[in-house]
């Protein structure tokens, strides 16, 4: 019989944020230098910059993975702790990951995730 861990069926805490897509010169560079299907581009694209208070609400720390549930889709991205205060706003680099969530500024829910960051081909379907 499979052993269940404590809290396995408890929903991860969520917080609501407005997603703002932002340019990132390093991401643009990675896309040109390594290609848009490279791991370098993915690591710099699948990111959300969150305010520390929002991170505390969903019990995540810097570099943890979170699920972002947008108006039009869901993505798994890595959390980056913001140096500036901006509660309720999540900054995501411009590009496919941000686009999956909907036209900006889009409303979204964020919660902790156990899944890994998907390849761009799996994020974006035609």
């Amino acid at each position: 019989m499979m052993k269940l861990e404590f809290g396995e069926f408890l929903a991860a805490p969520e917080c609501k944020v407005v997603i703002v897509a932002c340019p990132d010169v390093f991401r643009t560079e990675a896309g040109l230098r390594h290609g848009k299907f490279s791991s370098e581009y993915r690591e710099l694209s699948a990111v959300i910059v969150l305010d520390p208070t929002d991170m505390a609400k969903i019990e995540v720390k810097d570099s943890d993975l979170v699920e972002v549930l947008g108006e039009e889709g869901v993505v798994i991205v890595r959390v980056k702790e913001s140096e500036k205060e901006h509660p309720g706003i999540g900054y995501v680099p411009e590009g496919a990951w941000a686009n999956v969530l909907g036209a900006g500024p889009a409303s979204a829910k964020v919660r902790r995730s156990q899944q890994g960051i998907a390849a761009i081909e799996d994020v974006y379907h035609r």
């Binding site: 703002v20 932002c22 010169v25 390093f26 643009t28 299907f37 706003i89 496919a96 686009n99």
Partner: protein, 392 residues
């Protein structure tokens, strides 16, 4: 000296060696040295160029709701050929982010050249844009750091740069002042600033004292410049124009657009000329999207309903929330993109200003010749579009 087509600054001081690329920014260096090229493909299988062009022509001829998107990363000559092709096959042209160029070209707002910014600008506003991440050399070549003819003390004393943006951006971190605005309350901020410019206490939840201070700074400008972004982070275009009108009641401000693509101003100019033709009976419609909405335009054919989309130097899927594209996709691009991965036909072309010569128009309207950096044997975008024009 070479010209970099990594962005609309078209930096003309680039030196390309065997193994290095001097003076270029991160984007420019990666753009010039990129080896991420694609092969001609039909239905995601490699083919020769002739087959790819023939397949593209067949799709173009049989489609009824055709849309051409992009144009911002094509040389001027290719844009002209693309317009001819659109006229011939009855396609709609969608150029994104050209709205502010239209306002400038129509004379609705004052503008200036980048050397004028360098020589005369004392107050510089970065509105809904982050040039440190999109046009990395703007501040060092023109907008902030250099000594200009009337600004010999440069940024230390002669210039005040301010950001107004939904994020405390990298550009904000080096400016003297920054205003972080709520992404859903951008118009409220703009209206408050316009009230403050009339010396009224604004009715707003934003910090009134700071907005009055900002208005006081702007009113003192001898030569003010607003660099406006064109994406979702920027205030709506009509709010920017209203702010410009209010500023110019008491001061002297000019507007420049910081849009993606190295040659977007040129396509805006060409389409404006096309529509001002006295006997304009063509079907070409240009629809611009300031917000990058999901249907990719304020009017015309919804991209979801198009039965064929020709992407010209434009990574549609990486640029718009373009879910549910159902029509055939044709891509003409120098590099592999997310869109090319899903396209029905992929036609690789030489990159303007790298392995294809041509001309372009800088973001401030200055025509620039783009010499060849290296030979590659790839067909230019002009040559490909001309071949399509011959067979459709």
């Amino acid at each position: 000296m070479m010209v970099c087509t990594g962005c609309a600054l078209l930096c003309d001081d680039i030196e390309v060696g065997e193994n290095d690329c001097r003076h270029a920014c991160r984007i420019g260096d990666a753009h010039i040295t990129s080896t991420n090229q694609i092969d001609p493909m039909v239905n995601r299988s490699p083919v020769d160029m002739d087959t790819a062009i023939k397949s593209a022509a067949e799709i173009l001829v049989s489609a009824e709701k055709l849309v051409f998107v992009g144009f911002g990363n094509l040389v001027t000559e290719a844009q002209a050929t693309g317009i001819e092709l659109a006229e011939k096959v009855g396609a709609e042209i969608k150029t994104f982010h050209t709205g502010i160029f239209d306002d400038i070209l129509d004379g609705r707002v004052k503008t200036c050249t980048l050397p004028e910014v360098r020589d005369y600008a004392d107050i510089i506003i970065f509105l809904g844009c982050d040039p440190m991440n999109t046009h990395p050399r703007l501040l060092s070549r023109y907008a902030y750091y250099p000594r200009g003819e009337k600004r010999q003390h440069g940024w230390e004393e002669d210039r005040t740069a301010i950001t107004i943006d939904p994020r405390f951006s990298h550009t904000a971190s080096i400016c003297k002042d920054s205003y972080v605005i709520d992404p859903h309350r951008q118009i409220e901020f703009m209206d408050a600033l316009m009230d403050a410019l009339l010396s009224k206490v604004p009715k707003t939840a934003y910090d009134k004292k700071r907005i009055l201070k900002l208005a006081g700074t702007l009113k003192k400008a001898e030569f003010g410049v607003i660099f406006a972004g064109t994406g979702a982070a920027a205030p709506p275009r009509d709010a920017i124009i209203r702010l410009m009108d209010r500023l110019n009641e008491s001061s002297d401000f000019r507007l420049l657009s910081l849009a993606p693509g190295y040659n977007l101003r040129s396509i805006a100019e060409q389409l404006r000329q096309l529509h001002s033709r006295p006997t304009d009976d063509c079907d070409v419609v240009d629809s611009d999207s300031n917000s990058g909405g999901s249907n990719g335009g304020d009017g015309g054919i919804d991209l979801h309903k198009a039965d064929c989309i020709l992407c010209l130097g434009f990574d549609l899927m990486n640029s718009l929330p373009a879910h549910g594209i159902n029509g055939k996709l044709i891509v003409i691009d120098p590099n592999e993109t997310l869109t090319s991965r899903y396209a029905d036909v992929v036609i690789p072309c030489a990159a303007g200003g790298i392995d294809a010569a041509g001309s372009a128009v800088r973001m401030d309207g200055e025509p620039i010749e783009l010499p060849l950096i290296r030979e590659s044997g790839r067909l230019s975008d002009v040559a490909i579009l001309k071949r399509l024009l011959e067979v459709v």
